[in-house]
Amino acid sequence: MNIVVCVKQIPDPADPGALDPETKTLKRDVKLILDESDSYGVEMALQLVDEAGSGEVRLVSMAPNNEMSGLRTALAMGAASAVLVSDDALAGSDALSTAKVLAAAINRSEPTLILAATESSDGYTGTVPVQIAEILDLPAVTFAKEISVNGDAVSVKRQTEEGYDEVECPLPCVVSVTAGVVEPRYPSFKGIMAAKNKPVEELDLAALGIEAGTVGWAGARQEITEIAEAPEREAGEIIVDEGDAHERIMAFLDELKVL
């Protein structure tokens, strides 16, 4: 069973970054790490391949400047290989451009299953997995909280407003996984050493047969008209508990007449 996992390399969320005043997009000139949301998909893929007893996990990523430190983390977890798409013309890419590029990269192999996170931790549009599915003319099950493979179909518990749906979907298909679907492993020392020699195929747009004018800034077809500070909430009262905090909370609730 060959599985492709789409992974994103993002600026460290602990250092949330800023908008570039020139281009009005997130500054990405910092070191990138593997988006934590993607570690669940990588883990899920590794477990499914293990259960199947054959096949391998391949990563697909798009990043500026051939950045691959985040990919190395996922390779160290156990993925076999990676495809990295990097091209100056991809600067300014929105979710649809990203989906076009990832779909083209996925199409270079014939995976049985394509996994992705439900949304990235920096852009959180949450549309890329289903856009990839549509571009590849594939079914998709989004917001999976459990996945199992039964022959030539996957059985997925899909999150809903009220609970979850049990969905069966024929392979090949795209599944987006929620955080917490599995417990991601930490890369072992051996894994980290092995990852250094695992193949990372580096591609540009020409290699994927994508015209530069259809993606990135040129393909964005949207513009930011305004960036403004959001109104701040008024700072409230902060007290240190001296054993009477519950009384303060009761008084606060009494004042609001909600008790």
């Binding site: 549309t127 549509e134 609970g163 979850y164 749906d165 960036i227 902060i238 007290i239 905090a245 909370i249």
Partner: protein, 322 residues
């Protein structure tokens, strides 16, 4: 000038239109001359609710049976657009199915989606979406530059649902058209996770617990407190990911957006992911050990203290009030 027609992807459960859909219709009717809603399921029973909130007509795909909504709804809208009968803008709510519809429609029409929108504005003859970034400290306004149908994913609770007093909307059939290989998923079964008390996104008081509770058993304090306050229990992503409580409890970017009268955050540090889901609350009380926790930046009453001491005291104080 102005917007002539907006379509909304309408969601309903057991014949009742979702509050989020009613919010979108309320918002859209201020922005466009005509608001139309595309639905599946029993359209005739939904038509009166949709009309009451301002929908001029309902486009019905019919019963989807065991299919997922995304492929057929997106295909129906895309077909209408390609035949020249489409709207200027399509609004979907940031829900599970709403994202599927918007994503597939975007790829079909080759038009990007403006996501995480909390406010819509009309500028000339185009619609602009306002998206909060960096945990809501900055608002970014975006519009489409190309021609064709604009697609927006709007977050729940961005508008307040208000009846327009309209009469039942007309129902017209709309065809899903060719969905290719995309519509092959089958919903085998649906499970409802029972929760007692008020619904998380409708409750006047929400009591949420986070990692600061230490261990899963301690979440019982949140449940007891919620019961005493007639509140809904909620949780941060950290404890949901750790499996303490079901996903339906999650407040935040990936969970529910809540705007209760009182939000009580217990042992929650206030990651961006969480703040986005609750900072619209009218009053926020936070209890956390770490005085540097970001949650104190939005709290009206911040308690620097141990939830394991404060919560039992608070619970017994409420119990003694009866």
């Amino acid at each position: 000038m102005g917007i002539s027609t907006i379509w909304i992807y309408g969601e309903a459960t057991n014949g009742v239109v979702s509050t989020t859909t009613l919010e979108l219709i309320t918002g859209a009717r201020q922005l466009a001359d005509t608001v139309e809603v595309i639905v599946h399921g029993d359209a005739s029973s939904l038509a009166s609710q949709l009309g009451e909130y301002g929908a001029a007509s309902v486009k019905s795909i019919g019963d989807l049976g065991e299919s997922l909504a995304g492929p057929q709804v997106a295909s129906a809208i895309a077909s209408a657009v390609s035949e020249g009968n489409g709207p200027e803008a399509v609004l979907c709510a940031t829900t599970y199915d709403g994202r599927d519809v918007a994503g597939r429609l975007s790829a079909k029409l080759d038009v990007p989606v403006i996501t995480n929108v909390v406010e819509l504005k009309v500028e000339g003859d185009r619609l602009l979406g306002v998206e909060p970034v960096f945990g809501g400290t900055t608002n970014v306004t975006t519009g489409f530059t190309g021609s064709g149908t604009a697609i927006f994913l709007v977050r729940p609770k961005s508008f307040e649902a208000e009846s327009s007093g309209g009469s039942a909307a007309n129902v017209d059939a709309i065809q899903a058209g060719d969905t290719g290989n995309t519509n092959t998923s089958v919903v085998k079964d649906r499970f409802v996770e029972e929760t007692t008390g008020p619904k998380l996104d409708e409750a006047a008081i929400v009591v949420s617990g986070g990692r600061g509770l230490g261990e899963p058993d301690k979440y019982e304090m949140i449940e007891s407190l919620a019961k005493l306050l007639k509140a809904a229990p909620g949780a941060s992503r950290a404890v949901v990911d750790s499996g303490w409580v079901p996903y339906s409890y999650q407040v935040g970017q990936t969970g529910k957006v809540v705007k209760p009268t009182v939000y009580l955050a217990c042992g929650i540090s206030g990651a961006t992911q969480h703040l986005v889901g609750m900072k619209g609350s009218a009053n926020i009380i936070a209890i956390n050990k770490d005085e540097e926790a970001p949650i104190f930046g939005v709290a009206d009453l911040g308690i620097v203290g141990d939830v394991h001491k404060v919560l039992p005291e608070l619970i017994s104080a409420l119990e003694s009030r009866g």
